[in-house]
Amino acid sequence: MVTTQQGQQGAGRGLDFARDVAGRIRDRIKQDLIGRDDVIELVLVALFSDGHILLEDFPGSGKTTLAKALGNSIMDDLPDDEIPSFRRVQFTPDMLPSDVIGVMVLDTQTNRFYFRRGPIFAYVLLVDEINRATPKVQSALLEAMAEKQVTVDNESYPLNELFFTIATQNPMDAVGTYPLPKAQLDRFLFKVRMHYLDRRDEIEVVDAWGMPRQTRDLPKVLRGEVVEAREIIRHQVHVAPRIRVGLVDLARGIRQDPRVALGISTRSLVQAVPALQTLAALRGRDYVVPQDLEYLSVPLFQHRVVMLPGEDNPEDVVMQATRMVIEDLAEAMLK
């Protein structure tokens, strides 16, 4: 029923392979999700650059559909690890960390405790309404996101190396929420604000709803292929020294902006490099160009900037610094 395209194993495969993997995922997601090409691209960038993504949007805008489609397009090639490709957790205020991570359970037959895995053991995890759970749960999750392992009763259980979180939060409801602190927001590679669909796409969505879907069985990708594609991208996309310098200048520019209380972290710059590489690869290049920076700087950095009281436009701060860097880069390239 599901055709799996077995990729060739081994080294020597190039960016075309990585692009092909990404293309297959993209095609599968697009089949389920209409009119969100930009978000899909960012999700793919996050997936292949080993980051996590925070979607900020109104209810019913396709977040879950997106995450599900993504989870469904990845096929488990390690049946023994008992990790499913997709799980979803709905965060609520009464949750406990064990609801997410897992819990030690007594096996009555052997009289021994064994670890019963929580939903976090998945390749793609959708965390719905992350700001509804208490900070305790949030930090348990965020630790897992950063370390790719969970610790229960002094024992560590590794997550799969392809551990990709899509978290969502609703920007409107403030009652009964625990907003993520900036330090935790910093763990997310991107924060993406989804917007309403445009009219034509929305009509298409309404038309298609409830109709028997003409789904084609598009090829899935293997978990291992995604991991391999990550490696390929990391090694085969060139980031010119100028671009790296530009990245640092961008951070400095943001920090020096008089409207900013706290600028972006060095970690965010380290995370930004693979993201830029991935975008370049997805767009068919083996080198990063300023346009990649232009495209990614806002989702990459805007949620990490702490503004002074009275200022509320981090996007503008980031754009201004980006323009400055692009100007410098353009000038440097004619010399």
Partner: protein, 732 residues
Amino acid sequence: MKHRLGSVILGLLQWVLLSFALYLYLRDLAVPVVVKESIIASGGGVWLAWLAHSRRIPLYYSIPGGLAVIGLGMLLARWVTAWQGGPAPIDTLVYSQALLFSMVSAGFVFLLRLFALQWETLGILEFLFVELAVLQAFARHRYLHLDRPRWLADWAIVHGIAPQHILMVVGIAVTVPAFLVFIRRARLWKVISGLLLLVLVALGVYYLRNELPVQRIVAKPPGANSGSSTNKNKPGHGSNNGKSGRQSAGRGKGQGNSGFGRSGASRRGQNLPVALAVLHDDYAPPSGLYFFRQQVLSRYNGVKLEVDTSGNYDGDVITRFPLEQPVFATADVAPEKFHKDMAVTMYLIMDLGQPLALDASIKLSPARNPDPMQFRMAYNTVCRVLNVPYEQLLDLHSIPPQWPDAKKRHYLAVPDDPRYKSLLHKILQGLPPELKDNDLAKTVEVITWLEDKGIYSTRIAYKDSKDPVAAFLFKRPIKGYCVHFANAAVYLLRTAGIAARVALGYVADPARHARDGTVLIMNSRAHAWPEVYFDGAGWVPFNVTPKRTEDPPPPPVDRKLERMMGKMARKKHNALKRHQPRHKRPGHARKHKSWHNFNFNFKDLLFMLLGLLGLLYLVKFVRLAMAWFGRGRRGHVYVYRAVLDRLSDIGVRRRYGESRESFAARLVDTSPTFEDLTWAHLGVMLGWQRQQVDVDAARGMMREVMNEVRRKVGFVRWVLGWLNPVGWWRVK
């Protein structure tokens, strides 16, 4: 908040500096009461510019908006002036001036600020605006006009400090903040290029001002014979040349502007002291005015009256300065019957071409210059001034019987135009029969008639007429200024058989001057008047003052300044001790080396501009040519740069903060190949170093791009692009 407070303080500082500059400019131009309004209005300009910039109002709204405010100010001011039955004249003047200057200041400051906010290079304009204000205010000081800026100089002198030190300190105190406030943030090369550009423009303006306009008043050392300059006079009563003989005083800056042919607007702005006269005796002139005569026009050359250079006539007018020896009047000196001799010491503040003295001087002798820092030179005069009322001349005849015929003809020559005779006949109709042959009565009748019928106006000039006097006199209403009236009076008097000539110089109203015998002669009171010869009394000055006038009264003489200069002139001993070593020869002005005497003219400027243009083209074509010579990565850069140059030439440029890729994507309709070339360029510059650089392919693409662009933009724009010398400069 910190940021906002800082920008508010910066804005205030900018406003303070700009208003100080405005104040310095307006002091000379405007009625004092409107300076305050203008400065407040300029604050509005600063604020509006900031608003327009922060709200991102497009320049094609804001620039015309600023210009419109300026234009509106001018229009409204004119309307208020022309408003019949409006407020009282003085209020009208104040309102119109307030409207004019406040709106013009607001608009000007708005534009200045807007430009500076928009393009940081143009921040230099504001800086220069402030600097020039200080410079022009202080430059006057340099030309020995103590009153500029007087509030400062007076204070300094009173406290025994040399004014120049104070001025220097003020200059620095303004320059440094102006630099910090206006061009602190600009990049150095932008500042320098902006400065260079402005220097070029300023040089251009300066030399256009001095070279192109008809008149360039040559600054001659005092005492040089200026009579020769009149030979160059072109015919034309009201032409600017008409005054060059009298007024060589301008020092190239238009300071000696007499208003002869110019409209009054330029004249009223000038209220500078020309000379200081110290009268050593009491004197109440019968005409009610002190006439300071400098020159006379007596020869009729077929078109107009001019200075007699033959040396046969007007021997009573001394035209040479007494450099070392006294100079005496040679002929026609008035007998002492109706006159008295008065000692007057003249202190020249401006360079004059010919000496100036009260009425008719009979002897000039050198005097010590008490303060060469303030006075160009000094000389003693003995003036034979009319000391009796005009009535006592009633029985005198004009032309002495012993005069030779040539002399009679000289002083009676008039245009061959019957209209003069008929007009004269009309004028003299009213004379009682017993006075029909009385020369004084005829003179008075003619002058009274002119005063009744004439309207004084400096806004008029009779330049191109063949007989300018006729153009003036036979037109209704008779409208003109002193020169016109004096000439008309002389023509009519000569027609009546009375020897008359036009005298040029300055007048001063005794009532308006200090009582201690010090008369500050201002160039706003440059004047022309008729003189009539009476047998037995010599040349007697008359004044024609039309009863109606369209001009505001002359600005008052600054009594404070007058008194101060008078004291300075009298304080000979102390001053002389200080300056003796450097200025040994009394009465001789120090040698003056002015910076604008250096030999540089308009042609040089033209060549300089052409040279600059050539240089720009050279750079342009060298950059283009380099596209064919580079190799490897450099070659690629040259090729890409050449393409960018060409696009910039036709006005297609990358926006600020736009990446090259986005720029290329934006241009994809114009030139699809440009996008390919851009990607090739980016690949070379940012991709893996191991890949081969194919410059030839890039050159191929370059040609393709140029073809595509040419097809797209059309021939005209393409050619204009080639002619654009600065496209490469603006490439980003």
